[in-house]
């Protein structure tokens, strides 16, 4: 058994959308170890960053901040990285929840998510659904740019005004 590029991409997306920092997969002699930046050794985190940027669109790799593809989580982030992170944090826009409810990233279970890290959005792009009492409310980005971080998981309860995604204008 071997992994295709698409498989690896999908696995990275799963990790990306989860609240876990590390994923270890062993199937038929193939070992795949993924870590968010900052977790584990420099070498490993470097590898995961590379994978992270590969999973997103090339534009993420271009900006040279692969850390943002997976998120700023991780206690061992180097001070430089923290600085870089916070300095560009201020330039990022946020997509906030317009209401409290259950957040879904996909139009229906098993379907492709509305948007992923790297997707370009404008004000009207639907980025998810918020369910309130079985009523599905489309949530628009409200801002223009490229999604660099998704902050909530599929099925999470989101509060009113909670940041859902970060977007680079």
């Amino acid at each position: 058994m071997s992994f295709s590029h698409a498989d690896v991409e999908n696995i990275i997306k799963l990790l990306d959308a989860s609240h876990f920092d590390e994923l270890l997969l062993e199937v038929d002699g193939v070992k795949l170890q993924l870590r968010r930046n900052g977790a584990g050794s420099a070498q490993m985190s470097g590898a995961s960053q590379a994978l992270g940027s590969a999973s997103a669109t090339p534009s993420v790799a271009q900006v040279g901040q692969p850390a943002s593809a997976i998120g700023a989580a991780g206690a061992a982030v180097a001070p430089e990285a923290v600085q870089a992170e916070s300095s560009h944090d201020t330039s990022l826009l946020e997509v906030r929840a317009p209401m409290l409810g259950t957040f879904y990233r996909c139009p229906k279970p098993g379907a492709e998510p509305f948007v992923s890290v790297g997707s370009r959005v404008d004000e009207n792009t639907v980025v998810g659904i918020i369910e309130v009492m079985k009523l599905m409310n489309s949530t628009a980005a409200g801002v223009q740019g490229e999604i660099v971080e998704i902050l909530v998981n599929d099925g999470d309860l989101v509060e009113y005004d909670q940041p859902l995604m970060r977007v680079r204008a």
């Binding site: 259950t102 309130v132 009492m133 009113y160 909670q162």
Partner: protein, 486 residues
Amino acid sequence: MPNQDKVAFVHPNAAAWANAKQNTQVVSGGEPIQRVLVANRGEIAVRILRTLKHLGLESVLAVSKADRNSLGARMADRSVCIGPARATDSYLQIGTLVQAALGTGAHAIHPGYGFLSERAEFAQACEDNQIIFIGPTAQQIHRVGDKLEARRIAQAAQVPVTPGGPVQGLDEALAMAERIGYPVLIKAVGGGGGRGLKRADTPQQLAGLFELAGAEALAAFGDGRVYIECFVRQGRHVEVQVLGDGTRVIHLGDRDCSVQRRYQKLIEEAPAPGLPDKLRADLRQAAVRFAESIAYRGAGTVEFLVDVIRGQFYFLEMNARIQVEHPVTELVTGIDLVEQQLNIAQGRRLAFTQDDIRIQGHAIECRINAEDPDRDFAPSPGRVLEAYFPAGQGVRVDTHIEAGATISPFYDSMMGKVMAVGANRDQARTRLLQALAQTRLTGITTNIALHQTVLETPEFVRGGVDTGFLGRYLAKEFDAGVQENP
């Protein structure tokens, strides 16, 4: 500011109640409640959270964006932001609140008072989603919320109602007024708490106001029906606290809430001072009969107007919720009403019989509002710079205010309640005056000074003022003020 000795008031019956609680049985196979979502704000949210903590239950507080950093939000085990500051977009959103309970795994919702507490649709939405609504059934809320239906229930239960009734059209209204005598009140069927109320002293006035009353009622309550009642010239507002478990109803004594301004209660006390024994007993029995006749479940209040001149009482309305002034009853009975609400909501039978209830001493409450009595009670929103509340023997304060808190223009201006209990009315009144003198709230204007002067008027000291007392007092003070400053 010197630290006060914090001596909690412990009612002599408190230990007996604690034992009684252990012996209550679950009757309607309900799951015990473990986590409660509080769908309210302000002092009542803090009040409810306090009992949840005391009982070891988990709490989730639904907060608007404006209340994210409130005392309640920090007291609760968890808080969830349900919407923007405006109540219509947050605290009045039925779907959002039910979703918040589902999403946080809360088994029950406590609605507090105001907001959605008496909306049958909210109770129904909870029932539909297997969430326990801590209050009466949706059907009971609906029935007592409809003024005409409530009047019918009262009449059927042999509870006296004010002479009058529903009318259709001006001719019927004029005929009714002729029969019961002027002055009359035109009341909106969907109104309450003084809203949708007009007084007519003559047929000409009635003719002028009638159409307007219907149109206003339709606009305000979505229900244009009105009814006519005889106006009681000298009336006292006396209400009875009841508890029902769906089978049995008991009362926890009466409260007097006659110190009102434009139908907004300002000072409440328990028991009502100076009522003739028979009138008091009849009033309490009438409240129990009313609640029994609808198999009432939960804590509720049956309000009456006591006609001082005729020595009679009339049913006004039933409030199917916890009330602002509930603590004065707690102070003289030793019973935690929120705890009782939780027990009843879980399907437990009442832990007490009527004979177990003992009213001991006297309690008085002052509602502290951020408003300016010198500027026609204009709300005084802003940031509280200093907040110091009294403590000591027989003193209780229910509040959500602390230094740095914001009095938001989005909500009512009540900052909390300062209360005192004593062996008798005069001890309670003296303690309350001392407590008010210790209370220090700066940065905003409050009505504390007004409370202090009202508590010292000869009429209040004597006890048993009517609902027109405060209005007359303010008019007199205002005139005096004008004369002093020509």
